[in-house]
């Protein structure tokens, strides 16, 4: 109480009165007072205020936690560490403590009760060497002559330390290195540790008898590997579990899967420590996997994943499940993709998951509308596509979403926060997701006209053209692909001459087949596209020409046949009309017929005949098949005859 009074302008009696007011018991030490006050201060404000609480001699470990939180100033926080709660200080506070209470700071460092949070570069080098030597560079250590840390680093890095050494640090680490290799000849140079572990290790290697205390330090196990076995560990202890786990890992690296499984099972029997058990389960899974016991492998990994999340465990399921259960692999990798800590990892996981998931599905050739991607994978893809990822990755992810999540991807508002939303890499796949081929073709044509040299874009175009061509010939009666082909040609989708010729011919064949059943002929524009394609044949290489020749002939014949069928029907209609007129005029004297009016009424017939003769002439140019040519010639003769009657009615009646 005297100490407290000295810090305040109070007499001892005044302080005693305050203690009464605050319910501090006079029998308690001042350190208890302080901690209780700090704790109550925190609690009182956490509870929203209230009357001063009653103090009791309580559990200091609980109070200390609260007191630490209640301590505001540096002196309060330093003093509060007296109950075992470590102190974390900012660099500037560390510097302050080093100036105002260097001895206290050293006490805290020696007791490992203080750490620095923040930028260590703001801490003077000497102070860092005292409190955080691992943060110093090798050069800084050398400059300040801190050879113990320099030699420790060399030892940990595996640098050979067998040169004659003159200093205690050099001799100690050279001897420690030798001892780690089983050589006790330099044991005299070792600086003993407080627990005498090193002495026990030397003794064990020399005599084969082990002091059980030595096993409390697991760094000795590898050194003593030839003299320790499971009998040296207490059964069902975490140490025994760890030892068996390490044995299992060693057996894996010796390619002995059966022994690894045995050791792993022993480890599981001995430890409940989750980190060790998860690792052992992963080792077991790998060993089972190598032995072809896939179900056991997956079961072990899924058991490991029941607890805390582990990215590597999740990835391992992907490897094991890849062959036997692609869906399970994709689900686990999808989860990994959703939870991975970095964009790179998430992207790689998505790629891997998708690759495994899609392997057993012919999705690229046939748009499988029923295929559903695992939810986690889909969620990961949706979040990636709006993230700051490279453009190539964005495009690839959008492409997948356009296929497998088209409803979501076709709504631009879902991806409007993407930094790539203004690029064709993005817009093209939004259009594709909408499943409106016309919109997609327009977007593709616009993109190619703006950026004609992008490989991915020309590849997309080539895929589209090949796909349309394939669809045309897959079901020649279905005119929809032919219509898309003409849309592509009409909007000027840039494409190679070979593709243009092939696409035009394929579409023409499909259209003609469809129209022939209705006795209709293709529109003039179709003939125009065909003429353009024919002109392009000269631009093709000999090999390409050879490939398209048959197709061009077939298209020409189809066109000619279609025109012939349609015009044949029109010819019949023309003669029927003429006959009808003839029947009406039957018996009427020729001088009573108004030939001028009759000629006017037959003018449509005349124009139809002219048009047909022209169309048949055009069709004849495209036909290669003699039967079709012969038929066209016959029709042309008949249309000429019809034309003659329509032009000179008196010759007919």
């Amino acid at each position: 109480m005297v100490r407290a009074a000295a810090g305040l302008p109070l007499t001892l009696s005044q302080l005693a009165h305050i203690a009464d007011l605050l319910n501090l018991e006079k029998g308690q030490s001042e350190s208890d007072w302080l901690l209780l006050l700090l704790a109550d201060h925190t609690l009182a404000f956490a509870d929203g205020g209230g009357p001063p609480p009653t103090h009791h001699q309580g559990d200091h470990s609980n109070i200390a936690q609260i007191a630490q939180a209640g301590a505001k100033t540096l002196p309060e926080r330093v003093v509060a560490t007296h109950l075992g709660v470590p102190l974390s200080v900012a660099p500037e506070e560390l510097r302050q403590l080093a100036v105002e209470a260097p001895s206290v700071l050293d006490d805290l460092i020696d007791a490992a009760m203080i750490s620095v949070s923040g930028d260590l570069e703001q801490v003077p080098v000497v102070l860092r060497a005292r409190i955080a030597p691992s943060s110093l560079s090798d050069d800084a250590l050398k400059e300040m002559g801190h050879e113990w840390e320099s030699y420790r680093r060399a030892y940990e890095a595996g640098v050979a330390l067998d040169a004659p050494a003159s200093t205690p640090a050099a001799r100690h680490y050279a001897a420690l290195q030798a001892l780690r290799a089983g050589d006790t000849s330099r044991a005299g140079d070792l600086i003993s540790d407080p627990e005498g572990i090193l002495v026990s290790v030397v003794s064990a290697l020399n005599t084969g008898r082990i002091d059980p205390r030595v096993l409390s330090d697991s760094t000795t196990w590898d050194v003593l590997d030839r003299v320790i076995d499971e009998t040296h560990f207490l059964p069902s202890s975490d140490a025994a579990g760890l030892w068996h786990a390490k044995q299992a890992l060693m057996r894996v690296f010796e390619w002995d899967w059966e022994e690894a499984i045995q050791a792993g099972k022993q480890a599981l029997r001995h430890t409940q420590e989750e980190g060790i058990r998860d690792e052992v389960l992963s080792i077991l899974a790998f060993s089972h996997f190598q032995l072809g016991q896939d179900e056991a492998a997956i079961a072990a990994l899924e058991r490991a994943l029941e607890g805390r999340y582990g990215a590597n465990l999740q990835a391992n399921v992907g490897v094991v499940a890849e062959d036997m259960a692609p869906d399970r692999a994709a689900i686990h990798l999808g989860r990994l993709a959703a939870e991975a800590p970095s964009l790179d990892l998430r992207l790689a996981a998505v790629r891997r998951a998708f690759s495994i998931w899609s392997r057993s599905r012919p999705v690229w050739e046939d748009e499988d509308q029923d295929a559903s991607i695992p939810d986690d994978l889909l969620g990961a893809m949706r979040s990636l596509v709006v993230a700051h990822i490279p453009l190539d990755d964005h495009r690839e992810t959008m492409r997948l979403l356009a296929y497998f999540d088209s409803e979501w991807a076709s709504d631009p508002s879902n991806t409007s926060s993407s930094p790539h939303r203004g690029t064709w890499d993005h817009k093209l796949y939004v259009a594709r997701a909408a499943r409106d081929p016309s919109a997609y073709i327009h977007a593709l044509a616009s993109a190619l006209s703006e950026t004609p040299d992008m490989d991915w874009l020309t590849g997309e175009r080539d895929d589209f053209v090949a796909s349309i061509r394939g669809l045309i010939f897959q079901d020649i009666e279905n005119v929809a692909p032919a219509a898309y082909a003409y849309t592509a040609i009409d909007v000027g989708l840039p494409m190679e001459p070979f593709d243009r010729v092939a696409l035009t011919c394929g579409a023409l064949i499909s259209i003609c087949r469809s129209l022939a059943s209705d006795k209709q002929e293709p529109a003039d524009a179709v003939y125009g596209h065909f003429k353009t394609a024919l002109a392009m044949v000269d631009e093709l290489t000999p090999a390409e020409r050879e490939m398209v020749n048959g197709m061009v002939d077939m298209a020409g014949n189809s066109y000619a046949a279609s025109v012939a069928v349609a015009r044949s029907a029109m010819l019949d209609e023309g003669f029927n009309a003429l006959n009808t007129v003839g029947r009406r005029l039957y018996g009427v004297p020729k001088h009573r017929i108004n030939w001028a009016v009759l000629a006017d009424s037959l003018r449509p017939l005349l124009e139809m005949a002219d048009d047909s003769i022209r169309a048949l002439g055009r069709a004849r140019e495209t036909a290669q098949q003699p039967e079709i040519i012969e038929g066209i010639d016959g029709l042309a003769i008949e249309f000429t005859r019809l034309r003659g009657f329509a032009a000179n009615p008196w010759s007919a009646f």
Binding site: R3, A4, A6, G7, L8, P9, L10, H17, S31, L34, L37, L38, H41, A44, P52, K72, P75, E76, V78, P102, S103, V104, D106, D107, A129, R130, I131, A132, M144, H146, R152, E156, L176, V201, D217, S218, T219, D222, V223, L242, A245, L249, F253, W255, G275, E279, S282, I283, Q290, G310, N312, A315, N316, V319, E322, D323, L336, D344, A348, R352
Partner: protein, 133 residues
């Protein structure tokens, strides 16, 4: 990895997943010696060569190599913590003697500050007791 090829390059070289090229080459040498001693091993020299090629040339970034089983999955789980053969970094020795006087001053400051704050916040008439706060 196909069903017929379940080889793991790191395991074949006897090194942990993600080990750098230097460690892989050391593993290659170690396992080559092992093969000479035990010619009837599970893997052959060709497997070792394949494994080293994988680690040095194919697997550019192990973290992204999801086709490779990761052993250990959690490297720290089985790693030995600090101990005599894995010593903690050395702090430089202290330059001061323990000073009870410094501690005394800190205690006084801490008590003073805490009392002032608690009194000021919890007892309205605290200025009667701590006139110079």
């Amino acid at each position: 990895m196909s069903q017929g090829d379940r080889r793991n390059p790191y395991v074949i070289l006897g090194v942990p997943f993600g080990a750098p090229g230097e460690e892989a080459r050391a593993g290659f040498a170690r396992m080559s010696r092992r093969l000479r001693q035990k010619p009837e091993s599970r893997y052959t020299k060709e497997d070792l060569t394949w494994a080293l090629h994988q680690v040095e040339q194919i697997i550019k970034n192990p973290a992204l190599a999801f086709e490779v089983y990761r052993i250990p999955a959690s490297p720290s789980a089985l790693a030995a913590k600090d101990g005599v053969f894995h010593p903690a970094p050395h702090n430089i020795p202290r330059q001061t003697e323990t000073s009870s006087q410094e501690w005394e001053l800190l205690w006084r400051d801490a008590l003073s500050v805490t009392l002032r704050r608690v009194l000021a916040q919890l007892i309205p008439q605290s200025s009667d007791y701590v006139p110079y706060q």
